[in-house]
């Protein structure tokens, strides 16, 4: 901590928040709001005279509310920067009638109530997101009695209580009577590993088993005679040196009981706790009387993750943590070029793993920063100024805000920010956008070629590079056989699939067209595949209008790992295909030829922005909602019911 504060090349901006990020890899422009501290952080010597006179008392956040602080305070003695700060909401103000006592006693005259928030503009080439995690609030788990019973505490409160710098000076005591506990219990997996959204999250929080083992050894150090019971589902001690620590804890006499308490009751006289638990190893209900109970709370994504996600156009995995560019091969790159992830922002992990990942992220950023110039893959979008009619649709759908457009102005692609998904090219009603490499002409030529030899037995298939194409690769690697009728046309994203491509394929005699891409929530281009859904929806309506069976156009999601699923999709579309007759195909081609589709604008007239099909990540519920670009950016992928049950707090 101190090293970071002293380093000549590190500028610390504490009490600060990133407000805006623009630009792109190698060239980000960042606006930071540095909130007023009302104390000059360079002058303050942290003598603490001010605190002695401040009349305002507030719960101390650092001590988890177990002790108090004043309105002017330092978060903790070793804080970096070592300077006080005024909690301006609590402060009475500098008017001498109201208060202003601290100003009088500060020798260095570093308290300044005229200080205002500062806006700092930064230019950077790389960004590392290390925003960490929040912790689960166990109040919702009523049976454990947290907040109802004072002797039930969380694992973080435990840390403060046993710390020499804590509210009790390191004397680990009961909060109700100040006595050292003789019998203590720990409950594991609090808020973790549950499929009930009210009770927490499905994933394992990674740190809490080892943390409890550590706590038990610390307690045995303090009080060798203390009786410790740990209630658990599984003990996960998989890291280097972990099993060893677990064995030490057992050898020290710590009792491990397999089973989570069903009920905790407090004796109103003694304030002791009676814990009822089904010991699943012994197969019986047991009862323990304890002086204290510690809840091993799980890790949750930070409340402001959605904000950070939007600032940097990141993605989040279904657990709510930030998503890596690739789970195995690019584990510290974020989905946005030039942004890297470190620590618990990416997933819950301990200090060692956080530090390891941080060094990896620094190395990845270093690869970028140590170059004076970088090359970008030439698969980006290009606007044909002569064709552009300045409608702005492209700018609306671009997930990366890579298109600059103002009313009555030709759209302009910021090449460096363009990720090459092709969503804009598919969207433009006037065919004014061309993708380099994955050009319209090349795709039309591929459709023609696919249908050249035996159209009636050909399934024209669009597959996105990252998921469905990769899923088909996985099916191959796993030697999963399926009917040989699909002819795949690779695009970077399913969002590249222009409605015109589909019309064209039907016009040219395709019995079945399959559009496939990443799962709805896992789009590699943030949410470009939301546009796929919208287009396919519109196409289905259009097909119906022309008397073409909408089933002949299929939309499927398949992730890179799901070879089995790809094979299954292939069998299903083949089943559809065999039931499409030559006459039916002929009728379709005729109707479409007469109607003179494809014509982008016609698709649009058919259906302007249509409701998108959303699906809840937590319970799987599906619903339709009016699509708008604004919503696409600020999407929360939980249904209303799950959100209201949700323990996550969205700031």
């Amino acid at each position: 901590m101190m090293d970071a504060g002293r380093h000549p090349r590190i500028k610390l901006l504490t009490y600060s928040e990133v407000e805006d990020v623009s630009g792109y890899v190698g060239n980000f422009r960042v606006r930071v709001r540095k909130k007023a501290r009302y104390v000059d952080e360079n002058e303050c010597t942290a003598c603490g005279e001010c605190v002695k006179v401040c009349p305002i008392v507030r719960p101390d956040e650092f001590q988890q509310g177990l002790s108090t602080r004043r309105a002017i305070y330092i978060p903790f003695p070793q804080a970096v920067p070592s300077a006080y700060v005024v909690d301006i909401e609590a402060c009475l103000g500098d008017n001498p009638i109201a208060c202003g006592k601290c100003i009088e006693v500060c020798d260095k005259k570093c308290i300044d109530f005229d200080m205002r928030d500062e806006i700092v503009e930064l230019n950077v080439g790389a960004i590392i997101v290390a925003t960490g995690m929040d912790l689960y609030d166990p109040t919702a788990l009523d049976e454990y009695g947290y907040t109802r019973f004072e002797n039930v505490i969380t694992s973080l409160e435990f840390e403060r209580l046993i710390s020499a710098g804590g509210p009790t000076g390191g004397h680990f005591i009961r909060l109700t009577d100040g006595q050292p506990p003789r019998r203590i219990g720990f409950v594991q997996c609090v808020g973790s590993r549950t499929n009930n959204p009210v009770r927490g999250n499905p994933y394992c929080s990674n740190i809490c088993c080892m943390n409890t083992i550590k706590d038990s050894l610390q307690l045995k150090d303090h009080y060798p005679d203390i009786d410790i019971t740990v209630f658990y589902m599984d003990i996960r001690a998989f890291g280097k040196g972990f099993e060893d620590l677990f064995m030490r804890s057992k050898a020290a006499g710590v009792r491990y009981v397999r089973g989570l308490p069903g009920e905790v009751v407090e004796d109103p006289q003694t304030r002791n706790l009676r814990v009822f638990v089904e010991n699943t190893t012994a197969g019986r209900i047991e009862e323990y009387e304890l002086d204290m109970l510690v809840l091993s709370i799980g890790a949750i994504p930070r409340g402001d993750s959605e904000l950070v996600k939007q600032l940097l156009t990141l993605s989040r995995t279904p657990d709510g943590f930030f998503m890596e560019a690739h789970p195995k091969l690019k584990p510290v790159d974020a989905t946005t070029k030039g942004v890297f992830l470190a620590g618990c922002a990416e997933s819950p992990k301990d200090v060692k793993d956080s530090v390891t990942q941080a060094s990896a992220a620094a190395a990845r950023a270093e690869v970028l920063l140590s170059k004076s110039k970088i090359q970008v893959e030439a698969t980006t979008a290009v606007v044909d100024a002569a064709k552009c009619r300045q409608c702005g649709r492209c700018a609306e759908v671009c997930p990366f805000s890579a298109i600059r457009w103002e009313k009555k102005q030709v759209a302009q692609v910021i090449t460096a920010a363009c990720a090459g998904c092709g969503t804009c090219a598919a969207e433009c009603p006037f065919d004014a956008i061309e993708m380099r490499h994955f050009s319209d002409q090349a795709i039309y030529a591929q459709i023609d070629a696919a249908l050249e030899r035996d159209p009636l037995s050909t399934i024209v298939t669009f597959a996105c590079n990252w998921c469905s194409y990769a899923g088909a690769d996985t099916a191959g690697t796993g030697r999963m056989e399926y009917p040989p009728n699909a002819r795949i046309i690779r695009t970077m994203c399913s969002g590249r699939v222009d409605a015109d491509f589909v019309w064209y394929a039907f016009q040219k005699g395709a019995p079945v067209v399959l559009v496939s891409g990443c799962h709805y929530a896992d789009c590699h281009y943030i949410n470009a595949n939301r546009n796929t859904v919208r287009r396919v929806d519109a196409l289905w309506e259009g097909l119906e209008k022309y008397g073409v069976r909408p089933e002949r156009l299929q939309l499927e999601w398949c992730s890179a790992a799901k070879g089995q699923r790809w094979a299954k999709i292939m069998r299903e579309v083949e089943e559809l295909r065999v039931h499409v007759t030559a006459e039916e195909v002929e009728r379709t081609t005729e109707v479409l030829r007469e109607a003179k589709v494809p014509l982008s604008s016609q698709v649009w007239k058919l259906k302007a922005p249509t409701p998108a099909l959303l699906h809840c990540l937590r319970c799987g519920y599906e619903w339709r909602e009016d699509y708008s670009a604004e919503k696409a950016r600020s999407e929360e992928r939980m249904c209303a019911a799950c959100r209201s049950n949700s323990v996550r707090v969205f700031i």
Binding site: I10, R160, M210, L245, V355, E366, Q375, E377, I443, A450
Partner: protein, 198 residues
Amino acid sequence: MAKGNPRIGVFVCDCGLNIAGSVDTEAVKDYAATLPDVVVAVRNKYTCSDPGQAEIRRVIGEHNLNRVVIASCSPRLHEPTFRACVQQAGLNPYLMTMANIREHCSWVTLHDREAATRKAQDIVRVAVAQARWLHPQDEEQLPVTDAALVIGGGVAGIQAALDLADAGHQVYLVEKQPSIGGIMAMLDKTYPTMDCSI
């Protein structure tokens, strides 16, 4: 379009028996040679091997090719390999495309040689059609600002900031709270070494 009419070369890979085991690669090669604008079709046992790549470069020179189709495995595996290969032969890397006749064909159509061969031919035809419309592309060069922003001053943010600063880069470390430290600053001792955390 690259100068003149497309002159496409198709390289069909056996991949040992991985492709040749279920696809008649000779028939695929012969079929490829009949496609429009294809001036040469070659069959190779291992196209990605050094001799295989040398052969591609030789044929490009010999037949003055300006488009290359490589019918082998997934571009997700070997696109970078073959892009580099054609570049060495003086061709723009974006003038190469791949026909995935392994993952998408030979490996999923194991027991019907005729169907697999037919499918492989179709896949090659689609790739050749695409190749005709490939254009040389220049990868753009962008300048880089030599500074980094680290958001969050917990142990991860501090470590990343220190590493980058030690490597000589300017770092801005933005922390929401009045002090850096994050959760670790609140811990007393930390596993697995049980030492103090601040």
